[in-house]
């Protein structure tokens, strides 16, 4: 569905529908967050408020792991910030697709979560913002309600149930949908190698941020079939 053929309401609904599978998976993920947070000493209210106002899975799990390991406030916040640093290039990418004054664009930028951002990206490099809002809206609902359920489901053994495999698989599903071109596959492979190489030497989150450089390097490649991307500077 493109902007030219659909009203904002239709695009919002399309995004909402497209993100339902991610929202269901997100429910399971945030449920495990609720369980782990209360285990780590968060009050029920604190765990729920964190999901409501931070609403960023990887950052929440990072901060939680620091708290659970007895780390400091600064380390927990820094870890979350580094994990979220990938939203910086994602926001830069989204920026030209957002209309209005700066404060309005900043507010709309809050709707960026990995899955809706990736799905709202159109073939020409612009984003369908209403699709993004719809996709994020449904995921916000289940992220919040999953945490509520998790905090009241104390004693669930996250590892025993294999729930720690939910998070990587969630992102793997997004990744597979992105691997359309030879260049995308190369960028993914290079990003993975960069991140894994940095894991032993860099603080949490940095390996993923630096992996975004693979996109810059990838611009210089040509697809296996010889086609360069549109706008390739060569």
């Amino acid at each position: 569905m493109t902007e030219a053929t659909a009203t904002p309401r239709e695009r919002f609904r399309a995004g909402f529908r497209a993100a339902v599978p991610y929202a269901i998976a997100g429910f399971v993920l945030s449920m495990s967050f609720g369980v782990l947070a209360t285990d780590a000493g968060f009050s029920t209210l604190a765990a729920i408020v964190m999901s409501a106002i931070v609403f960023a899975g990887s950052a929440q799990f990072t901060a939680l792991s620091v708290v659970a390991a007895g780390g400091s406030v600064g380390a927990a916040v820094l870890g979350a910030a580094l994990m979220n640093s990938r939203f910086l290039p994602m926001g830069v990418a989204l920026a030209p697709s957002l209309p209005g004054p700066a404060w309005k664009r900043g507010a709309q930028g809050q709707a960026v979560v990995d899955s809706s951002w990736a799905m709202a990206l159109q073939g020409d490099g612009t984003f369908d913002r209403w699709f993004l809002f719809g996709g994020t809206g449904v995921q916000y609902l289940t992220w919040f309600s999953g945490t509520v359920v998790g905090t009241f489901a104390g004693g669930v053994e996250v590892e025993k149930l294999g729930l720690d495999a939910v998070y990587p698989t969630f992102f793997l599903a997004l990744l597979l949908a992105e691997l359309r071109s030879g260049r995308a596959k190369s960028a993914a492979a290079l990003g993975a190698v960069i991140a894994l190489a940095l894991v032993p030497v860099a603080p949490a989150g940095i390996p993923i941020l630096v992996a975004s450089l693979a996109a810059l390097i990838g611009l210089r490649w040509r697809d296996a079939d010889g086609d360069a991307a549109e706008g390739d500077p060569r």
Binding site: G70, A76, P99, G109, T169, G231
Partner: protein, 103 residues
């Protein structure tokens, strides 16, 4: 950590996340960016997502680690690759991980 410190972590995480998500749109919005920029954007998602998947499935904190969850994620990846829905993929990944741990 005291309850007050936990609330401080939550408040600061929310603030930092909002600043990071808002920075790009505030600084660059409404402007035409050069054509090559779109090429970078198209490759940004696969690079970031692959990094997230590998770090979360193949590493624990600051070291590489292969465990039951790695096998579970791989199994989930296979069913996703064969066209399964993300919910099915996630359930398979959790079930395989749980089954290996139960052995």
């Amino acid at each position: 950590m005291t309850s007050g410190q936990i609330w401080l972590v939550i408040g600061l995480c929310a603030l930092v996340t909002a600043l990071i998500k808002g920075a790009g749109p505030v600084a660059l919005g409404g402007r035409e960016l050069p054509a090559w920029f779109n090429g970078v954007i198209q490759l940004m998602a696969p690079a970031l997502l692959a990094a997230l998947v590998c770090v979360s499935a193949l590493a624990d904190h600051d070291q590489w680690a292969i465990g039951a969850d790695t096998a579970g994620v791989a199994a989930g990846g296979v069913v996703l690759w064969r066209g399964a829905n993300v919910v099915v993929g996630v359930v398979v990944a959790a079930a395989v991980t749980a089954a290996i741990r139960a052995l």
